[in-house]
Structures are given as C-alpha cells and as structure tokens.
C-alpha cells in the first residue's frame, strides 16, 4: 500500500491546479486545500482513496463553500463545476490546469528567486518551511517572498492560464530555465543546504518528467530532462569521503548511475534526430559524450570541442568558450589549447572566475610547467567560494609542491 504521505504529495499539485480554476483565487484555493490535506492526514491512514485528487478537490471545495464568506453567485459557480459530489475531470482539463499553474509560477513579472520559490511551493508542493530549509533562510523570509510573489501576480493581473501559441515558445523556455535553476541549485556546491541538495536535484528531475509528459514533442524539454539525468548520474562519484569535490578526471565511473545514463542518452538521441536543436540538447549531448567514455582518457574531446562550438551559437558567453578551450586543449594539444585560452582574455569577467584560473592551472600541469600551474591554482583558490572546491584546489597545489622541487 502507498503511504498516505506519499499519495498526498503526489496528488497535491494537480488538486491545487484544479482548485485554482474552480475557486478562481490562488490563496483561497490553497487555504481550502490546506483544510482538505488536514482531513486527508486523518482519514487516509486506513486507506488511500482510489482517486486522491478528486477526494482532495471535493473536500476542499466543500470547505470553501462552508466558510460562507462567498456570495451566493460564487457558491453556485463553484458548485456547478462538480456534479453530484463527483468530479468530472478529463485528462485534457487536468493537463490544462497543471499547465496554467506552472506558467503562472514562472511568469516573467516575477524575479527568478520568486519563480523558484513559487514553483517549489505550488507545483512541487513543498511546504514553506521545507523551501526555507533548502535555501537556508528563515521561514519568515521565505513566507514573505512567496506572499510578495503572489501579490505581484495579483497586481499585474496575471490570469492562471496557458499562454497563447505566439507566446508559448518563450514562456516555455522560461519554465525550463526555472527547472534548471532548481537543478543547479542542488547540483552546485553553494546556495542550497548540503544535505538537501540531492533532493533538490530529484525534484527538478521530477518537474522535468512532468514537462516531458505535458510537452511530448518539444525537443528542448527532452534535452533539459536528458541533461539533468546525465549530470545527476555523476552524483555518487562527485564528492570524496572527506567532502572534497572530485573532478570528472578522477571520478570512479563505476559509481555513476547506469540507469540514469541509459535514459538520458536515449532521450538525447531521440531529440537530436528531430533536427530542432537548442542549448539544452547540445549540453545533454556533451554530457552523453562524457558518459560514453569508459575512462577519462577515452573521452572524445574533438567531438566535445565541436559541440561547445555549436553551444556557443546559442549561449555566446565566456563560460561556454572557456569550456570549449579546455576541450580544444584536450583534443588538439598545447598550441591550439593555449591559443583558444588567450582568445578569452578579451572577456575581462573571466579574470574573477575561479574555474578560468583552474583551467590554466590544469593545462600548465599537463604540459609540465609546475610553477605556472601552482600560480594559476593559487589564483583560483583565492577566488573559489565553496569549501568543496577550495579543498580540491588545495589538494592540487599540495600535489604540485610534493612533485616539483622547490628552487628558491
């Protein structure tokens, strides 16, 4: 038997999406659903109902009507959405409700922080306390952020609705961006509470799966999910026992999650054959090339360099070009690698980016210039902000110190 908790978690977003349409106001829908959830916690212990979403919507709707603060017409409107206490909900209607909820949470009138908070609250169904814990801020702060986001939506008169066809590609790209931010918050080494990072990645993947089901033919939605699956597959190998970051080169590939890699590669392959390329697909393809190498030395760097070339057309930023330069160095050697790195000097922002200096350090180390490598790693160390990365850089410097004789 499914546990009541899990069934509730699974049913919550769809029930909320439907209630917002039926009741018309997000806060009132959420209040009513809150009442229904409390009752479910009491009643579902003996057995989860066959249709948990319909159960929640019915109880919440009744609670809303019982409050008696609604005008008679509103009550009639709400009641008319339900026939004989049994919800008539087609699959199309469910999809429409869910889409409206997702697009509204990622509305362009909201700041990225608010989009993330609201999506985790309403689409994923985390409580305010849970979100606050993940982002290591006081619950009150998170509560305020969500309340403010809701009032922004109200003031901008954003309707809970699916954008029209002309707006859709741009709005869907914004939704994908929010999902990927949630994923990278979990994947990076700063921002989220360490113990909760894997959970954040899993929630983002869950959102990605939901988007894939809602937008079956969208290659970028597939690319996004593939990218997250392939990156998440590395998780078991990314941290050493002492908590230091283990770079791709030194990861034990036997620890990678073979199931996630299999599904991720299958999705990239399927998306690419549609010839409707986008940045998530290219990044997923890069991840798939890494996943296909049995050992770091077997990596097909020439292909990765080409893919970064393609990616730079979609994302012309310095970080993509830096990654391209690293791949060029690995694929074609010192001369072309250094040339590609020097071409980056026009991007002044890179001077303050620790991974730029770490890349120089790695290249000098590989070409046998221990002195220059140490200097570059030390610059990177001074700029790095996460403990895991600092530890890894210190380790490299120590290794160089022990390998190269000190000539003073």
């Amino acid at each position: 038997m499914r546990s009541a908790d899990e069934a509730l978690r699974a049913a919550y977003p769809q029930a909320l999406a439907t209630l917002i349409r039926v009741i018309g106001r997000a806060e009132q829908a959420e209040d009513a659903l809150h009442t229904a959830v409390e009752r479910a916690l009491l009643h579902w212990q003996e057995g989860v109902p066959d249709r948990p979403v319909a159960w929640l919507v019915r109880v919440a709707r009744n609670a809303f009507i019982d409050r008696g603060r609604r005008s008679r017409t509103e009550r009639r409107y709400v009641a008319s959405a339900v026939v004989d206490g049994e919800l008539i909900l087609s699959d199309d209607q469910r999809r429409e409700d869910m889409l409206a909820l997702i697009f509204t949470c990622c509305d362009p009138s909201l700041t990225p922080d608010s989009q993330v908070a609201l999506t985790l609250r309403t689409v994923v169904g985390l409580s305010v306390d849970e979100i606050a814990k993940v982002y290591m801020v006081p619950a009150k702060t998170m509560e305020r952020r969500i309340t403010r986001a809701r009032s922004t939506l109200r003031q901008a008169e954003v309707a809970y609705a699916v954008p029209g066809a002309s707006e859709l590609p741009e709005r869907l790209a914004a939704v994908c961006a929010v999902v990927y931010v949630i994923f990278t918050d979990g994947y990076s080494f700063s921002g989220a509470a360490p113990a909760l990072r894997p959970r954040l990645c899993e929630l983002a993947i869950r959102l990605g799966r939901l988007l894939c089901r809602l937008f079956r033919q969208d290659t970028e939605v597939s690319g996004l999910l593939a990218l997250m699956l392939l990156q998440h597959a590395h998780s078991p190998a990314r941290l050493s026992e002492s908590g230091a970051i283990v770079s791709l080169e030194y990861q034990d590939r036997a620890l990678w999650d073979a199931g996630l890699i299999r599904d991720g590669c299958a999705m990239v392959e399927r998306a690419l054959r549609r010839h409707d390329l986008g940045p998530y697909q290219v990044q997923a393809a890069i991840a798939a090339v890494h996943a296909g190498a049995r050992a770091y030395v077997d990596t097909d760097w020439a292909q990765i360099a080409e893919l970064y070339d393609v990616l730079s057309h979609f994302q012309p930023g310095a970080v993509v070009l830096l990654n391209r330069a690293i791949a060029v160095f690995q694929a074609h050697g010192e001369a072309r690698g250094f040339e590609a790195m020097r071409a980056l000097e026009v991007h002044s922002a890179l001077a303050g980016y620790h991974l730029y200096h770490a890349a120089w350090g790695h290249m000098y180390e590989q070409t046998g210039d221990g002195h220059a490598a140490r200097e570059a790693y030390e610059r990177a160390l001074a700029l790095a902000d996460s403990e895991a990365e600092k530890e890894e850089l210190s380790r490299r410097i120590e290794r160089l110190n022990s390998e190269t004789p000190q000539l003073c």
Binding site: R2, E6, R9, R213, M267, R270
Partner: protein, 124 residues
C-alpha cells in the same frame, strides 16, 4: 505452457515512490527471480526504460510518422515483463501476485502463442 506476466504502472509513478519503496521493489524482483529459477519456471525477464523515452511509430503507405513518448494515452504503461513456464494458469497467477509491483500497479497474465529467440523456437 509459457506465460507472459506484463507489469503495468501509472506513468510517472516512479516520481512518487520513496527511496524505501524503490528499494523494496528492487529487492523484491531479486527474490522473485531467484524463486523462479529455483523452481525451474524462469524463462526470461525484461525491464523497459521510462515511458518518456519511448518513440511511437506508424507507417501509412510510404509515410512514416514518429511521435515522441509512449503510444498509449492510458495512464498505465507496460514497464516490464517476465516469461514463466508453468503447468497451469493458476500457477502463473500465483507467480504474478508475487511480483512486487502488484502491490502498487497491476500485472497481467497472458499465455504466449509463439516465441523464438536466437537459439531457436521455444515451446510456448
């Protein structure tokens, strides 16, 4: 007689399983496979990738259409199957009920009409 035991699960159900539930299911399959082998009933087993990895193909005349995602709009998808050799339907049903997914989704028992593998035909 060989029977296929098809395992159906709600599309997306895996998102809502807890780590403990996933572990229970995985270990359950391990034990179930062992049991089948011990009792001489094991013929084969297949686990499919997630439904969202599927491609759906039609050919109408010369026109081939490919859709991303699983064919069925049904809420439950086939996620894998066992082939078991049994003396009776009762026995196959008893095996089907042992499959851990029977507690979460649905399993379906179907007699196999014809089968062959690389080694040749095997008795259905």
């Amino acid at each position: 007689m060989n029977y296929a035991i098809l395992i159906y699960q709600a599309d997306g159900a895996e998102d809502h399983f807890t780590a403990k539930e996933k572990k229970t299911i995985l270990e359950g399959h391990g034990r179930f496979g062992d049991q089948l082998r011990e009792e001489g009933a094991f013929v084969g087993a297949i686990q499919l990738s997630e439904g969202y990895t599927a491609s759906t193909v039609n050919r109408r005349g010369a026109k081939i259409s490919v859709q991303d995602g699983p064919f069925s709009e049904a809420k439950e998808l086939v996620i894998g199957l066992y082939v078991v050799q049994c003396d009776s339907l009762d026995e196959a049903i008893a095996y089907a009920a042992e499959i851990p997914n029977a507690a979460y989704g649905t399993v379906e028992v179907r007699p196999i009409a014809y089968a062959r593998d690389r080694a040749g035909e095997f008795e259905p």
